[in-house]
């Protein structure tokens, strides 16, 4: 890892431009080439031949949200662990290995407590979460 100039981020911008360009060119070519015959029933949502009833934008089960919730907490914890993990080797070579190991493991142990809690309470189950949480 050395000092970088800001130009190091140039390829990312280039790839963003290219992604937009690829999408635009593909749509443009398709717009020129492809036929357009609107009408009929082909612009109804597909429901295996039945005429769709109502909008699909209805409420659905809350367990998708619970999964997202557990994910975001773990995501944030792993983000915070990244800088510490990246200097783990350097600190170990400097002879401070035990110190950083204690810090690292105490952080991970809290993470483990979280997953153990969710496991115990049935938040990690997809099907049974309703029944078990009513029992509790």
């Amino acid at each position: 890892m050395s000092n970088q100039s800001l130009n190091a981020f140039m390829p990312i911008i280039v790839m963003m431009i290219l992604a937009a360009g690829l999408y635009g060119v593909a749509l443009l070519v398709a717009y020129i080439v492809s036929p357009r015959k609107p009408g009929g029933n082909k612009d109804l949502p597909y429901e295996c031949g039945e005429v769709p009833v109502g909008s699909a934008w209805s409420m659905f089960n809350v367990r998708f949200y619970v999964v997202g919730l557990i994910f975001i907490i773990f995501d944030v914890e792993s983000v915070l662990m990244f800088p510490v993990a990246s200097i783990f080797r350097k600190m170990n070579e400097m002879g401070e290995g035990t110190y950083i190991l204690i810090i690292f493991l105490s952080f991970i142990s809290v993470l483990l407590e979280g997953i153990a809690y969710c496991w115990k309470k049935g938040d990690l189950d997809w099907v049974k979460s309703y029944k078990r949480s009513v029992d509790n």
Binding site: V62, Y65, L69, I72, I73, D75, V76, L80
Partner: protein, 105 residues
Amino acid sequence: MITLKAYLFISLVLFVTGLVIMLSRKNIVAILLGIELILNAAALNFVAYSKYTAANLDGHIFALFIIVIAAAEAAVGLAIVIRFFQVKESVHIDEASDLREELTR
């Protein structure tokens, strides 16, 4: 060359947008969107000041913790919103008045 004021201006725009959304929207989820903007404005200020006025990375640490807090806040806040919706079948902010003293209606 970009000065500190440019970043502060962008941060101001973010903050004001968040404030306007918070004040004018009546959907609780939209209010949480506004809060995210305000937190971003604060984090942007921290990072900008840490580049222009201080030579250390404390601003980055602060931005990192702001992002952490924002994620936790979004998780808990949206959980409350969803529970609120299950009880009241609406996420109108004015419905959240059960604990308020009854005033004249």
